[in-house]
């Protein structure tokens, strides 16, 4: 019988190796984003951006795309048949395990406690965000993450309360996948694995490296770590019950809707 490895280093490198092999089979150029504004008139145009109170107005002259229909996100999915089967499995897992667990959790646990748990788990993940901010040269972001950790760990009672956000110290949510993107690594193929959220090959490698930066992995045995991850997923699912239901009701093709939504959000995260 195969048992899960208890050595966190071995565990993480097994995942890295698997995803790197997948990435080597077909890396694609980084998905290019499209301009947010695509006026129907082409040539040079002036973009005027102002804040809500009109106090900060910036004007820049750019040449914009003339094709109103262009600018679609590149969705590189050469493994769609495999991904589709994995997606169906994960969807069944969500329907029969995560959603019922999330619903029960939502009924039993007050919203404030759910948010506090989310805050605490996020606080523990500071090393990942700090290191990736530094690797991307975002020193301001790194300073904010460190400051948030100190504030939330102390005044926020071990991270239960996001005191830093109230003080105007915003998070800089960087991860290894975004770091790789900043370094010019292409997204690679879209990838769906059982029990995991959607990934690209690049983000999969990043995900494995992020696990190496998670301090819990070094102090908790595999079973406890798995329980924490499962608990995190249930809590997150509980916080998004209605969003998921509405998203599902609004789609014609769930697979492509989830793929596109994931890729768009990642593109935005890399840009920020």
């Amino acid at each position: 019988m195969v048992t899960a490895p208890n050595d966190p280093w071995l565990r993480q490198w097994l995942v890295v190796g698997a995803v790197a092999a997948a990435a080597a089979l077909g890396a694609a150029p980084a998905a290019s984003g499209a301009a947010d504004l695509e006026p129907t008139s082409g040539g040079d145009v002036q973009i005027e951006t102002s804040t809500a109170d009109g106090s900060d107005v910036q004007i820049e002259t750019v040449q914009l795309d003339t094709d109103p229909g262009d600018g679609a996100l590149e969705e590189y999915d050469p493994w769609e048949p495999f991904n589709g089967r994995m997606f169906t499995f994960n969807r069944q897992l969500d329907r029969f395990v995560l959603k019922p667990a999330g619903t029960a959790w939502d009924k039993v646990v007050p919203d404030e406690v759910q948010r506090s748990l989310k805050n605490a788990l996020k606080n523990v993940g500071m090393p990942k965000r700090l290191v990736n901010n530094l690797l991307q040269g975002k020193f301001d972001g790194a300073a904010r993450e460190f400051g948030r950790f100190i504030l939330n760990s102390t005044l926020g009672v071990g991270g239960l309360f996001d005191v830093a956000a109230h003080a105007g110290v915003e998070a800089s949510d960087e991860d290894s996948g975004q770091t790789l993107a900043t370094w010019g690594v292409g997204t690679g193929p879209y990838l769906v694995l059982p029990f995991l959220p959607p990934l690209t090959a690049r983000d999969g490698i990043g995900f494995a490296f992020d696990a190496l930066l998670d301090p819990i992995n070094y102090v908790a045995p595999f079973a406890a770590d798995f329980a924490r991850s499962a608990g995190d997923r249930v809590n997150e699912r509980s916080l998004n019950l209605e969003v998921f239901d509405d998203f599902e009701a609004a789609t014609l093709d769930m697979y492509s809707a989830v793929r596109n939504a994931y890729l768009q959000r990642r593109q935005k995260a890399v840009r920020e």
């Binding site: 947010d36 504004l37 129907t40 145009v45 005027e48 951006t49 916080l239 492509s256 596109n260 959000r265």
Partner: protein, 199 residues
């Protein structure tokens, strides 16, 4: 004579005020604020809070969306390159089905999220006949939710042509779905699914 001139001046001033205050001259941010404000007013109307009046609340929100969104431009964006191959009658059919699909979905989202949250306006960007207004929805379980509105100037009036929720453009998301359905089945299957999604 002097009385007539005076009355004429007053009328001119009154009509000028109406013209300046008319929706046709509202900028992108004002337009979004108008739409969001109208929806919020419906959601917070004490007379419509009763569970039995849910359908009426829904109908009013749909009417506001109908008036504030340009579904022809949205539909064209969502269908992508295939739009050029359609006849005018087919385009009308598609736009009609798309409008119904979007209104059902977006009304549901709006009813669930807009009422219990406040909207803060961040920036407005204008480039020719297109604009982007960035907002933040605050409150609720998930804290802050960035929502962006993309608008197009149609005959002097700004209309919403896309909504970007936390980085996800609804028009692009629909486009990905429609492309896959057409690729794996056919355009006729897409229309059938859009009709089949109707209540």
């Amino acid at each position: 004579m002097r009385r007539g001139a005076f009355i004429g001046l007053v009328m001119l001033g009154f009509l000028g005020h109406l013209w300046l205050a008319s929706p046709a001259s509202a900028g992108p941010r004002e337009r979004v604020s108008e739409i969001v404000g109208s929806v919020s007013a419906v959601l917070r109307d004490p007379a419509l809070q009763d569970t039995g009046r849910h359908l009426e609340r829904q109908a009013r929100v749909r009417a506001i969306i109908d008036e504030g969104f340009d579904f022809e431009v949205m539909g064209q964006q969502a269908l992508g390159g295939r739009w050029q191959a359609l006849t005018p009658a087919q385009r009308d059919e598609f736009v009609g089905l798309f409008a119904e699909l979007f209104k059902r979905s977006y009304t549901r989202l709006v009813l669930r999220f807009l009422g219990e949250r406040t909207t803060s306006y961040l920036t407005e960007s204008v480039a020719g006949d297109r604009a982007a207004v960035e907002t933040i929805l605050e409150g609720g379980k998930d804290g802050r939710l960035p929502v962006g509105y993309r608008l197009a100037d149609k005959d002097g009036r700004w209309q919403v042509v896309d909504v970007v929720i936390d980085g996800v453009s609804l028009a692009r998301n629909y486009r990905a779905q429609f492309e896959r359905v057409v690729r794996t089945s056919s355009y006729e299957t897409l229309l059938r699914q859009m009709r089949g999604n109707a209540p």
